[in-house]
């Protein structure tokens, strides 16, 4: 159990956490402002990754691809909001779940129809491959450090957007009293479309960045979506601060659990069994964490408003 491994895994956890935050912040904003539970958020993650992979392949530039991915996801979000989502705001949660579940099916099968079933190739640009040496002789991939940096930058940007700008003021106003800001002359439907597109764009960014690390395939958004749900439930639905805290907590606990639980069980079990038990427990760890937190705080750690 070396320090190097610990540092490396902590960084991996933070990296997973920042990417989860990109997903969770959109989900939690959409819930906070519009009161909508959006299962199709994982689809925007996928759209971002596919658009980035396709455009990067045709232009040769990862940055152009990334920009295209964000724009594509945001556009898809705006379109979906205009056509489907805005009919759902006043519906019960059950209807929202089913309609957005239907959207997942449509997005996934539509993507399969266009791009086929085999994964697309997307790798980080050559100027971001390679390693840096961190204090304690840890060699760490540059690309993952960049992901952490992007995550931190987006978090700060989002904070400034919400606390310092007129749009942010309207978003906050929308969270506390929808009817009132409408009465004060804010165009609510435009605001909703904008918030939805913003969330979708953030999800698309996360999909594109992670897609370059893993693989770009149909259904890639679903595991991340469920992790993001755990994040916002832990943090308190509607709270950006909760999403940030929850994302880092889930990212670090999940990553460290997968590495250290098998090692832990090897101390008093035969190695083959220890790996199985450790892996199975590690897979359940964040859900157990969520259950414990909810047992004490049913509304999450940073409940925005009841």
């Amino acid at each position: 159990m070396s320090v190097t491994l610990l540092i490396e895994q902590l960084l991996n956890g933070v990296q997973l956490g920042t990417m989860l935050f990109l997903m969770a912040s959109g989900l939690t904003l959409i819930f906070g402002v519009m009161g909508l539970i959006n299962l199709a958020h994982g689809s925007f993650y996928m759209v971002g990754a596919y658009a980035t992979a396709a455009i990067t392949a045709s232009t040769g530039s990862f940055l152009i691809g990334l920009g295209a991915g964000i724009v594509a996801a945001a556009l898809a979000g705006a379109l979906v909001e205009l056509i489907v989502i805005r009919r759902l705001y006043h519906r019960p949660h059950l209807d929202q779940v089913l309609a957005t579940f239907a959207l997942i099916l449509i997005f996934s099968e539509g993507t399969r129809l266009i791009f086929g079933s085999s994964p697309l190739r997307l790798s980080p640009p050559s100027w971001l491959t390679g390693f840096v040496t961190l204090p304690g002789d840890t060699r760490y991939p540059i690309y993952r450090l960049v992901l952490i940096g992007v995550g931190v930058a987006i978090s700060i940007g989002l904070y400034l957007l919400i606390s310092r700008t007129r749009l942010g003021m309207r978003i906050r106003a929308g969270e506390s009293d929808r009817e009132m800001i409408g009465a004060l002359g804010v165009n609510i439907s435009k605001l909703y479309t904008l918030v939805f597109a913003l969330g979708a764009g953030l999800a698309g960014l996360a999909g594109a960045l992670v897609g370059a690390l893993q693989s770009v395939q149909v259904g890639m958004g679903e595991p991340v979506l469920i992790l993001a749900f755990v994040v916002i439930v832990i943090g308190g639905i509607g709270s950006i601060k909760g999403a940030l805290f929850g994302a880092l907590l889930v990212g670090i606990v999940d990553t460290l659990g997968r590495v250290y639980l098998p090692i832990f069980f090897r101390a008093f079990m035969p190695p083959s069994e220890a790996t199985g038990v450790g892996a199975a427990l590690a897979a359940m760890l964040i859900y157990i964490l969520m259950a414990v937190i909810l047992a004490f705080k049913p509304k999450g750690l940073f409940a925005a408003h009841d």
């Binding site: 579940f101 239907a102 997942i104 996934s108 359940m284 909810l294």
Partner: protein, 347 residues
């Protein structure tokens, strides 16, 4: 908790024509149940085993949806994690058969538990284990309401899913085959028709239990817990235990359907636990008509037929499922039964 239906009193009578002797609703219900029984029997004697198995599949999925309908439709608890019970029931059947086949005990400590290939034992174990799991999950989840409840039930189901995926003893993500279908004394369960009739009996029993339950004082309390839990509390009945009991019964019904499903396919895998299946079960309940006794049956028939027919034409059939579902949610709130049999009186 939000109300999934706008109905005042949910429909709960099993007898196909309980309201009036020749009502449209009664006729539709009788036709659905009659066709589900008669078509497979006919197909069997004409030698079309495939259609009998298809009917068994519809019946089992309908039974699982009957369980979920008790939670969503009658109890207003939008569970997005019923695949957990379906899968657990399936794994009980699979694991029990695995140990019976191997003559190895399932566990030796603190007491020895052997495997069994007797369906009665399998069903009992599946019911008890699903009930206990639902008791634990429900006890935590029901402390929350609304969106939290939806996401938490989903997250717990995912926990079980990932556990099954990464636990190597019973096949992990590859799943576990059941080499010989679990049996019953005096009945040849490997016979396609016999097995269909067992499934059919299971479905009818599940619907009868739901119907009886909803006509009882308990059902009235559950309906009130859905519509207005403050008023229920004012009447001196605490909503939490009522909901929890309904949630557990709902999970047991879905779990038993899962056990039947594993034995039908001779195979159990984490797919049965996946959130996609939870979603599909919800879709079936909604397609059929939420909070209606025959809704799950109508929904399951429609869903499996779409899957079979569209799936035969195009591999992208789920695209069409998505479009149909979107249309139903946005424009046809009362499902197939609402369309076929008319709205409920109090809707």
């Amino acid at each position: 908790m939000t109300n999934p239906t706008s109905s005042g009193v949910a429909e709960a009578s099993l007898a196909p024509s309980a309201d009036s002797h020749f009502s449209r609703k009664g006729l539709v219900q009788l036709t659905l149940l009659g066709l589900l029984l008669l078509l497979p029997v006919t197909a069997y004697f004409l030698g079309h085993i495939y259609y009998v198995n298809l009917a068994s599949r519809i019946t089992i999925i309908a039974m699982a949806a009957v369980g979920l309908n008790l939670a969503i439709g009658y109890g207003g608890m939008v569970s997005f994690g019923h695949a957990a019970y379906f899968g657990l029931g399936g794994y009980v059947a699979g694991i029990s058969a695995y140990h019976a086949f191997d003559f190895t005990p399932f566990m030796t400590w603190p007491f020895s538990v052997p495997g069994s290939d007797n369906l009665l034992v399998v069903w009992l174990a599946a019911a008890v284990l699903c009930g206990l799991l639902a008791l634990a999950i429900g006890a935590i989840s029901l402390r929350t309401t609304g969106v939290y409840f939806i996401m938490i039930t989903l997250a717990f189901a995912q926990m079980i899913y990932y556990f099954a995926n990464s636990w190597p003893t019973y096949g992990g993500e590859d799943g576990l085959p059941i080499y010989l279908r679990n049996g019953l004394p005096l009945v040849d369960t490997t016979n396609t028709l016999s097995y269909f009739l067992i499934c059919f009996a299971g479905l009818v029993l599940a619907m009868a239990i739901t119907s009886r339950l909803m006509k009882s004082r308990f059902g009235a309390a559950l309906t009130m817990a859905r519509l207005n839990d403050v008023r229920l509390a004012t009447a001196g009945i605490s909503p939490y235990p009522i909901r929890l009991i309904a949630f557990v019964i709902s999970a047991v019904i879905t779990g038993l359907a899962g056990a039947l499903y594993a034995d039908l396919n001779g195979f159990v895998s984490p797919t049965m636990l996946s959130w996609h299946f939870s979603g599909e079960l919800m879709v079936i309940v909604i397609l059929g008509g939420v909070g209606r006794l025959y809704g799950p049956l109508a929904g399951a028939i429609l869903f499996v037929m779409m899957e079979t027919l569209l799936g035969g034409i195009t591999q992208y059939w789920q695209l069409f499922l998505g479009l149909v579902l979107l249309g139903v949610v946005l424009f046809a709130k009362h499902g197939v039964m609402g369309w076929l049999a008319g709205r409920e009186r109090n809707e």
